[in-house]
Amino acid sequence: MNLANMTDYHHFPIYSVMVLFLGAFIIAACGSKPSKDPKNPAGFRAWIALCATALSLFFLGSLVKPVMLEGEIISYWMGSRAIAGGYAIGIAMEVDALSLFFALLIATAVFVSAIYSIRYMVHDECVPQYYVLYCMLAGGVLGLVLSGDIFNMFIMVEILTFAAVALTSFRTKVYGALEAAFKYLVVGCMGSTAILTGVIMLYAQYHTLNLAQLANLIPGTMNNATKLAFAFLYIGFSTKAFIVPFHPLAADAHGAAPASISVLISGVLTKSGIYGIIRLTYFLFQTMNLGSMQFMLVFIGSISMFVCVTMALAQHDFKRLLAYHSISQIGYVLAAVGLSTSLGISAGLYHAMNHTLFKGLLFLAAGAVLHETGTTDLGKLGGLSKKMPHTTVLFLIGAFSISGVPPFNGFASKWMIYQATYQKAVESNNIGFLLVTVIALVTSTLTLASFVKVSQSVFFGQMPKEYENVKEVPFGMRLAMGILACLCIVTGLFPKTVTGVLTEPAARAVANVGEYITAMGFKSNLPAPNVTFAQVGVWEPINWLLILCIALLALTIVAVAGKYDRVSERTEDDTVDTKYQLFYGGEKNVYSQVGGGDLFWGFKHNWRHYFDFMHNLHSGIVNDYALWAVVALALAIVYMMIVL
């Protein structure tokens, strides 16, 4: 093999996966002796992990041009075994725009989180092993989305599940870490088993494991076994995406895991679930033209977004709150993808990307708070903005993004989702989809409320005495957050470019199943559909920002001319002047931080019966959650049997 051959971009998908596994192997081979540097206990192993993730991102990034812009689908057979006798017997990778889209998200999140980990994991033991697991997890997810083979998907699911479980319980001293890992293990294994069962049933029916070939064979030949397999696979990927009814696992897992891992669980693992569901419904079984399937996905998506946002409002812990929001945003993605319109898919994928960016940013900010103060309890924190100004700004960018405040990226994608749902409602003349628009809009406001709660409880308000010596986090951590924040702003300001380069090719790929099948060497008679991404709304973030900037500039000039900034402030030497104390009805030296879980009493009071119900439902017992999984599987089977 010569160099020119090796640098052929067709090899890049496998490189990007192998580089991560190779990294894991090298780190493991280097032993677990901690380095002497207190700022980087893993020593050079951390740099290996960073290089591996960076290389992986580089490989995937260089695929943007051929795959996204030129529409090529890379099919790659390992060991040059391909199709024999009409059946795919080799291990295949197939990278279409959808795969690459998810792979890019994953690689970005993994890379940023690796930067963050170096300075974040300084207080922990066994950090070298952390990087081993980290690379395994990253490789697993990347392998899952790039694989062209359903059994390989299962294997990757197994790898990532076990790596994720181990990383969840990585901080064994944290209260609840082992419990969370155990819950995740039990339900995650049920999911993996369901996927395996589905794969076995499909193989028994069609004697092939290749996705493209299955996609070619299954539609039109559905029997009860296929439907059963579909239900099993759907539930299996649902557990990976943590959508309702698997959301409690995510909360526990995020709460216990290190923040850098929460980023992966939230931004990467859930995406793998969504990817699985898209592959399943749009490609393998091609059931998305059925109203009943659209209904199912949109319904579950809407339930996820609403239930989880209300659950988030009731949380007292920063990371648990973020975890519920994570599922809520996945609900948006699922609802939009389930619309089965090109705009819907594009919007859903856009939101999936944004979710990775802003949720990663938020988890990293939560990690920064945890790193400096040692707690994420909303009731105990407060006033950190004076000590950690950069973290606060970065957090606010993330919070604005997730709440859909213009011009950040969350708004751009949510706004597309509203249009997509409303257009779907009008096109199908089904008032139910209208309800989804309303739920999505209200959920967005509730999200904002919940992040106002966080900013008030953690970053603003009054600072407890014990945090007086808190410092800003190290540069490495801020850099990681800064990258994500910049991406949040850029993707929000240029929605047209982002959709044009990333999500619309992916949405086109979703619509164009025939090409996916033919690219692998099978014959397909599916026609190439005519895809348009017509929007009814108008939104020009750049022009808006320009006007806002002019307005701000004008105001600032007036303000500065009017000595707006000439304020009375307490000087350093005069510490007792009551003039600069807060007004407490005259009281002196009172500490009173308004924040924590009960901030929105007026809202929660009206919904108290609902919250009581939810509180009782989420018992925290793993048996219950396992039961939910079984019930969900049973319901899915019954539903599939009826409607397909």
Partner: protein, 325 residues
Amino acid sequence: MTANIFLNGLQYLGYILIFPGFLFCFLCGMLLVGIDRKLVARMQKRVGPPILQPFYDFFKLCGKETIVPAAAERTTFLVAPIVGLAALVVIQLFIPIHGFTAFSGMADIIVILYLLLIPALAAILGAAASGSPYAGIGLSREMVTIIACELPLVLVLLAVAKTVGNALGTGLCFSMSEIAEYQLQNGSLITKLSMIPAAIAFAMVIPGETGSHPFDTAEAETEICEGMHAEYSGAPLAVFKLSHAVKVLTLTSLFVALFFGGIGTGIIAFDGVIVFALCVVATALFISFVHAVTARLKIEQVFKYYWTVVSGLALVSLVLAWYGM
């Protein structure tokens, strides 16, 4: 060529700074608030302050000392009011005045719904940055009020989108300028049966969004010391008062643009006056009158009211619009 660009830029700068931007917002918003205060006083059988009182208040506050509490986060505390005001003025630019649409082509009604969050968010962050517990309670209530208003507002806007879309034959229409254009040709939307409950619901939302009686729980000066503005003094407070005035103008003119569009002459100066007169009527009816006859509600009552009565009305409208009435 360059001269042309220069002139165009100057024209847009004029839009932003003079009409319908800052100067217009400042004068009309303050006047609206002055009229509102006068009317409330008259309804309570008082003489009331002079109509120019908000201007006096504004200039007085500009001349006061600005105190930044030691517990406050200085930058956010001072920048928040400015950002809120700028965002509000920008929203005002997007709302068409009769046929005149300075920048209305740039944003649709859902975007405006979201842009309306920015001033509230700025106020909330400024309040949070002040560190005061009164501000904490105030911002919590403000946020709940926003949630409460959001549902009816969403339903109303969707109903409008559907109605105009039905009439235009496209199914749905989000664009502000198209809605204005439609009304120019076919008369006000209020003449449609399905839009009447929507207009009532929107009218009920106005006092909630602007934080006037009986929905002013967020700045209840008698119980939580002005709530969000508890620690604000001097010029930043003046900016907040101005923001409130502009918000009154924005919401009433949005109301006029959505439901009473198409009333005008085509001459921009007259149209401005007519729209302003309609805004005054809307303020008088939905802010002053409601203020005069009601007492402040508790925050959970505010929430309940908006999510039952007002949302119900808006939903009726949406369903009517859906079936093409």
